[in-house]
C-alpha cells in the first residue's frame, strides 16, 4: 500500500515536471512605469509544446491587487482594451504578449516597482496546473521591436 502511494506520488510529480517542461514561459518582463502609476503591464512569450491546447484562466501576484488578461485592439482609429476571460495557447504553438497587443494588466500595485525589481506571477491553467514565474521589471526598450522567435 505504502509503495503504491509512493509510486502514485512519484507518477504525479513526474507528470507535473513533464507538464512544466512542455509549457514554457520566456522573455517575461514588467514594464517600469511612472512612480505614481496605478496600472502596469507584463509581457512574455508562452510556448506550448504539449499535445493539448493550454488555457490560462487567471493570473495572480502578491504584488498586485488584481491582474487581468487584456488585448489592445485598434478599431475606428481608437485603441481599445479588450478583457480576455482566458488565454488559449494551442498545441505546439506560441502566444506572444507584447506592447500594443496581448498583455497582463497589473492593477493596484502594492509597492513601487523600478527596473531591477522582480515580481512573482502565478499563471493558473484550466487543467488545474499552476506556473509560478519570476518576472523582472525593466525600462521600455527602444521602439518596442517585436519579439523574434524560431519554430
Amino acid at each position: 500500500m505504502r509503495l503504491l502511494k509512493f509510486l502514485l506520488v512519484l507518477a504525479i510529480s513526474f507528470s507535473q515536471i513533464a507538464w512544466a517542461e512542455s509549457v514554457q514561459i520566456s522573455e517575461q518582463w514588467v514594464r517600469e512605469a511612472p512612480p505614481n502609476a496605478k496600472v502596469l503591464a507584463a509581457f512574455m512569450l508562452i510556448d506550448n509544446q504539449s499535445a493539448e491546447s493550454q488555457t490560462i484562466i487567471s493570473v495572480t501576484s502578491p504584488d498586485f491587487g488584481t491582474i487581468e488578461i487584456h488585448q489592445t485592439v485598434e478599431h475606428d482609429g481608437m485603441m481599445h482594451m479588450k478583457k480576455q476571460e482566458q488565454l488559449i495557447i494551442n498545441s505546439k504553438q506560441q502566444v506572444i504578449l507584447k506592447p500594443g497587443s496581448y498583455h497582463l494588466m497589473l492593477m493596484q500595485p502594492k509597492r513601487q516597482l523600478t527596473a531591477g525589481d522582480e515580481v512573482d506571477l502565478t499563471l493558473k491553467f484550466a487543467s488545474d496546473e499552476e506556473l509560478i514565474i519570476k518576472v523582472p521589471v525593466r525600462k521600455s526598450s527602444a521602439s518596442e521591436k517585436p519579439v523574434h522567435h524560431h519554430h
Partner: protein, 207 residues
C-alpha cells in the same frame, strides 16, 4: 538664320516638348510620398479652449503659438498604449537637434480628469521627460480641444462597484500643431521614434 542655328533651335524646341510631355505624365508631387498620409491637405486653424497644465498654469490656444506641438490624448491609468506612446515621444524628443528642440513641445492631454489631477499628471509625465507638458481641466474644455483635432474617447464601464477601475478607449494619433496654431499633421500607429523624427524634420523643412 544659318542651318546650324536652325538645328539648335529645333533641338531646343524638341527638348522643351519632351520635358513638357514628361512633366504632363509625371507631375512632380508637391507633398513627398512619405508624408502624404500624415500631412493634412490644408492646415486647420484651431479655436479657443481653456485648460490647465500640471503646474496649474493656463493652457489655451496661445500655448501653441510659435511652437511645434506634438499632442497626444490619453490617461494615466492606461496600461499599454499611453506608456508605449510616451516612451516613443521621449525617444523622439531626447534626440532632437538643439535648434529644433528649442521650439518643440510635447503635450499629453488627459481624457480622464476625474482621476488625473494636475499633481498626478505632473509626476506621470515627468517620468518620461521633465519638459513634457501634462494637461487636464473641465470635461467640456477637453472635449473642445479633442473635437477640433478629430480625437475621440469612450469611457468604459467599471467592473468594480466603486466605479474606480474603468478603462477609456481613445484615439492614439499623435497630432502635430504648427506655430500658427493650426492642426498640421497626424502620426498614426504604429509609432516608431526614428520614423516620426524623420517625418517631423521633413515637415518643418517644407513649412
Amino acid at each position: 538664320m544659318s542651318q546650324k542655328t536652325t538645328i539648335i533651335v529645333s533641338l531646343l524646341v524638341l527638348l522643351g516638348i519632351a520635358f513638357g510631355v514628361v512633366g504632363w505624365f509625371f507631375p512632380r508631387p508637391t507633398v513627398p510620398v512619405e508624408l502624404q498620409a500624415i500631412l493634412r491637405p490644408d492646415s486647420k486653424p484651431l479655436h479657443e479652449f481653456s485648460l490647465i497644465d500640471q503646474n496649474k498654469n493656463v493652457f489655451n490656444l496661445e500655448s501653441f503659438k510659435d511652437k511645434w506641438t506634438l499632442l497626444f490624448f490619453g490617461y494615466t491609468f492606461c496600461p499599454d498604449i499611453c506608456p508605449t506612446t510616451l516612451t516613443v515621444l521621449k525617444q523622439f524628443y531626447d534626440k532632437l537637434e538643439p535648434q529644433v528642440l528649442a521650439n518643440t513641445q510635447v503635450v499629453f492631454v488627459s481624457v480622464d480628469p476625474e482621476r488625473d489631477t494636475p499633481e498626478h499628471i505632473a509626476k506621470y509625465v515627468a517620468y518620461f521627460n521633465k519638459d513634457f507638458i501634462g494637461v487636464t481641466g473641465e470635461v467640456t474644455e477637453i472635449n473642445k480641444l479633442a473635437l477640433q483635432n478629430g480625437a475621440g474617447y469612450i469611457k468604459g464601464s467599471s467592473p468594480n462597484d466603486d466605479n474606480s477601475n474603468y478603462q477609456i478607449s481613445h484615439t492614439s494619433t499623435i497630432f502635430l500643431i504648427n506655430p500658427k496654431m493650426e492642426l498640421h499633421a497626424g502620426f498614426s500607429q504604429p509609432h516608431i521614434a526614428e520614423v516620426i523624427s524623420e517625418q517631423y524634420n521633413l515637415i518643418r523643412n517644407l513649412y
